[in-house]
Subunit: 454 residues, 2 copies
């Protein structure tokens, strides 16, 4: 009998609802606090910045299922359902009894899972009567996805792109421009925040913190304009659950259920997107599954950070979030997995880790690329440096299964491809990449600065 | 009722045979000739250079269907069947009554259709007991695909990459290296041909002609090693018919049959791959369908070239091929659609054009990018500069249908994505790209040099 390699769904089988895990959590995430009053935030507090629909979703603790608007679902049809793939060649190379599956989000036209939330957020802004959106982007994955999404829904977009990335990642910048976005290197002279930074440090290469301030400032001052964010927050992960809901149907087609679910970890939306739909069976039916986050060893908030209230951004403009964090002043090493260079974890995953429902492992940069190259040479797809962390963790589990002689079913998320990150592979192949060690003191000096609220 | 956007096939529906159009052609292509004796070539004459199986396929005029080896079909399952997509958003933007479909070959892990033949050629080399393959690559699409394929079948690969591309296209070079290929900038000191060129012109930036000579020289001198080619030849187009055979099934799912089939045109394998399976119904049942090649206006072999015997390579090492050509000494302008910068057309398409079964249009560089950007902004996928030529021709036909008020069904091949060609889009968006005019004298001075055999 022929073995099936890729498990596909028809357009009719694309899920019609996203899954909100919070109603199923015994211990809810602690509230998000206003930094001045320390009072729990209400949706209305977020309305000036975010589309009202996503502000409501952000704090929704009661509705397990949220309908996907048909306009968003129609847009999903451009690339969804994405394939679930059995990694036979990787299994063979590892000589493991484990069955390895991956959800292939790299087939999205922007090359990553980010589009799943970008389309939803652009739609809600449009529905609210807005005409503009602002956002910031570092490596450019989120800005790229939002450029695509705003073009699809007929909105104008201004992206503040961290200046060093603007210069070093011209391909992603050009992608955004091809989809019609205005891309401004940050810091810029177009905002007060940018002007202030430039007057103090004219040669400043930019940071996500500055770019966030610029994007929010413009959103607040422009009529019919709001701001959007591509990770960390609950509504972003909500939109990403389309990944896991599809995967659940596809694993059923394969006649299997995962023993282990793995995702790389930056802010948490790709990990949560794949894992929460499976985690719901653990929460509601006691199904035994391990959920593993794979973070970079150079940015180990889940394995070595502390659980505390902290700001979501470097500059301290956002509300206070209860999360595992390295401190918002922590500056991660300049690894190529730019999407994982974030100091904190989303509030839901933080609570789940605290409650022992989720595990965390860290992966060193060189190990992530070794895994990425093995994956490219077996399964054929060059993974994004971020996704390579999930692959490294998968390989570790598959080798453990071999050692123990236990056949395990492992599912991981291939969150994106690495075709626009080939310079990183070039550096790895020519021996120019390194690992970054981080001492306990390095971590403590940032976390010690946090106000002790919990 | 929900409209279907993407028409998918299950793995079981991936075709089990390629289609050889020659048995159905009333006028067969004229024979390929030995350049010295002017005698028709036999398969054995090609054995020293090409795998025997593909040499046999090259000259096969009798077998309409060629079985796809199950090992190749298993490899196809990594990305096939590729989707057939209805371009609703593009139709809407054009306000056309035409139904526009495209076959999306960009979803292959190497980003283009080239992999369809690379896998087949690598397999046949492996089956013959070879351990090495050589090839040349210009822009890098073919080299990339063959790197993937040789890794899949456990062969060593040496790619001679035109030096200027080696330096200007580091992403494609790194892709090849990630899949384990040895990539050498050509001209190089590793061959006599390269040494000769370098001794005459030390700063020479390389050409496809020199790279071919180097790759063939190494193949001839290395035990268990042969040479492969990624376009122009009949066996390459044969392997690419998987595209059209799938599309035929998918158009049936959509309940339509194309009035017009369009492909961009370099050597002919992507155009032939999509169109020949449909053309067979024209040849055998008299079905009325138009088949349109879209070539760059700066390399107009089909619209302005002559039909004559000519060499396949710049240097004149290959056998003589009966084809539409601009002369093998013609140097195309440096357009970004590197895969279309070839002086001649494959022998089958040349015969079909001569017989009026195929039409040819030319597309100017700026028009191709205008079409590419419109496609990116409507259908979401940034097309390869090559594929943008097919899109431009499609838009022209869709607008004609609008003018005439006739609903036409148009099918084109999206042969690849442009994610690794974003610098070209950047140049277009910033107004730095140009068209290249070509006078009749420019063409005549190369074609006049050809020996008049026909």
């Amino acid at each position: 009998m022929e073995k099936t390699k890729r498990f596909l769904l028809s357009e009719k089988e694309i899920p019609e609802q996203w899954y909100n895990i919070v109603p199923d959590m015994k211990n809810k995430p602690m509230p998000i606090l206003h930094p001045g009053t320390k009072q729990a935030l209400k949706p209305e507090d977020l309305y000036p910045i975010f589309a009202e629909a996503v502000a409501d979703q952000e704090l929704n603790q009661t509705d397990r299922w949220i309908a996907i608007p048909s306009e968003v679902r129609d847009q999903y049809k451009h690339y969804r359902a994405t394939p679930l793939v059995r990694a036979y060649s990787l299994e063979k190379a590892l000589d493991t009894p484990a069955h390895i599956y991956f959800k292939n989000e790299s087939v999205s036209p922007v090359g990553s899972h980010k589009l799943n939330s970008a389309l939803a957020q652009a739609y809600y802004c449009k529905q609210e009567g807005l005409t503009h959106i602002t956002t910031e982007t570092g490596a450019g994955q989120w800005g790229t996805a939002l450029s695509y999404a705003t073009k699809a829904f007929g909105l104008d977009l201004t992206v503040y792109m961290v200046k060093i990335s603007y210069e070093q990642k011209p391909y992603r910048r050009s992608l955004m421009q091809t989809w019609g976005a205005k891309v401004i290197p940050s810091p810029s002279n177009t905002t007060k925040a940018g002007q202030k930074t430039l007057s103090e440090t004219p040669d400043y290469q930019g940071s996500l913190g500055t770019a966030i301030s610029e994007a929010i400032e413009v959103a607040m001052q422009t009529p019919n304009c709001k701001y959007t964010l591509g990770s960390v927050l609950n509504h972003v992960t909500l939109h990403q659950t389309i990944i896991g809901l599809e995967a659940e149907k596809q694993m059923a087609l394969a006649g299997e259920y995962p023993d282990i679910v793995i995702g790389c970890f930056g802010g948490g939306s790709n990990f949560g997107g794949l894992s929460f739909p499976f985690l719901r069976h653990t929460l509601t039916e006691g199904r035994k599954t391990r959920f593993i986050t794979a973070e970079p060893a150079s940015c180990p908030k889940l394995t070595r950070g502390i659980f505390q209230y902290d700001f979501g951004d470097e500059a301290g403009y956002t509300p206070l979030l209860p999360m595992f964090t390295l401190g918002h002043t922590f500056t991660p090493a300049n690894i190529h997995a730019g999407g994982l260079r974030y100091h904190g974890a989303g509030t839901i995953v933080s609570q789940l880790l605290k409650d022992g429902l989720v595990e965390a492992v860290d992966i060193r940069q060189l190990d992530s690329f070794t895994a990425g190259v093995l994956f490219a040479q077996t399964e054929g797809i060059v993974p994004a440096p971020e996704s390579a962390h999930a692959i490294a963790a998968t390989i570790n589990e598959a080798l453990k299964a071999k050692e123990e002689g236990t056949p395990k079913t492992i599912l991981f998320n291939l969150s994106g491809h690495g075709l626009i990150d080939m310079s990183a592979y070039e550096q790895y192949l020519s021996g120019k990449l390194q690992n970054y060690a981080l001492s306990d003191e390095d971590i403590a000096k940032n976390t010690d600065k946090l106000e002790k609220i919990i």
